[in-house]
Amino acid sequence: MRPALGCSALLLAAGLGAAPLEAQDPRLAARLPTGTRLAVERLLDSARASGLPTEPLVRKALEGESKGADSARIVSAVATLGRYLGQARQALGTGADEATLVAGAAALRAGAQPARLRALDSLRARERLAVPLSVLADLLTSGVEPERAWTTVREMATQGAPDADFLELRERLMGTRQGQAPGLPPAAERPPTAAPLPAPHGPSP
């Protein structure tokens, strides 16, 4: 083999061969028992092979460890999140970034239908979906009636509302002081504001 070809091929092979080592996240090795870590790493490999982000899955495993959950529960939680991330990616397309997929997965876990993620995707630029999806997840998790939550979010997306308006809607709906986004005063200094939901317009899909 010619030296040029040989050296380059060897180096590329070494570089490509190093890729699977990424699966061995040092955080998992440091905090999870071996059996749990291996099971989680298999899920990470699967997610990686599907083109899904693995960082949210690593965080889920670390969250479980921090909360004292047993191995089965940690692995189950990671697998469930992986499934929701996959559904979110299927609904929102391969161009959706990690933040959007995480918000989409949260909305799905809270009870949103994948078709509604697709509908939202058609109404709003994909890079601006994370906040509406996150707000939808919050509304559903807090017990707002699903049709009402969806119709309101969809209506705001149709109108091209900025992200801040979605957060304000949630504040009014839930009476929280959520407002820690940039440009707003510190959350704890803001009084809760409660107001009725804006009347939804148009039929729900």
Binding site: R2, P3, G15, E63, E65, A77, V102, S134, T141, L167
Partner: protein
Amino acid sequence: MADHDPLPALIAALREPVRLGDRAVAGALAELQREARLARWRRAGWSTALAAGLLLAIRLWPAGSPAPERHAVRFAVAAPAAGRVALIGDFNDWDQSRHLLHRQSGEWSVTLELKPGRYRYAFVVDDSRWVADPGTPAAEDEFGTPTSAITVTN
């Protein structure tokens, strides 16, 4: 005086440059071969450096668009009787030792720089009690502890 035959000398003279030429050609060929070998190794060096640079660029180049801007987010909780409050969540690998809150008049707070996105988090009071943020929405939780969610916008 016998005639001197110039022919042998002439032949010898003619042969001499030819023999010298043979050596020169052989030497030149050897030199060319050596140069060719060196050139191959030089190409190997450049190719190796190029491949290494390419790998390095692939590994280090930020994927997709530039990294999103981080924003200051203040987390606060009222816990007048607490001796220690930690913030724990998606932004710090759920590690209690990473972000301890500072007390000021009964309120504990800390400010983090976060990228836009959705984060789940909680406060841990005195290393044992998990407390959700009463001012932000409750988050889904598979592990049975109080957890909050925050959305950071651009």
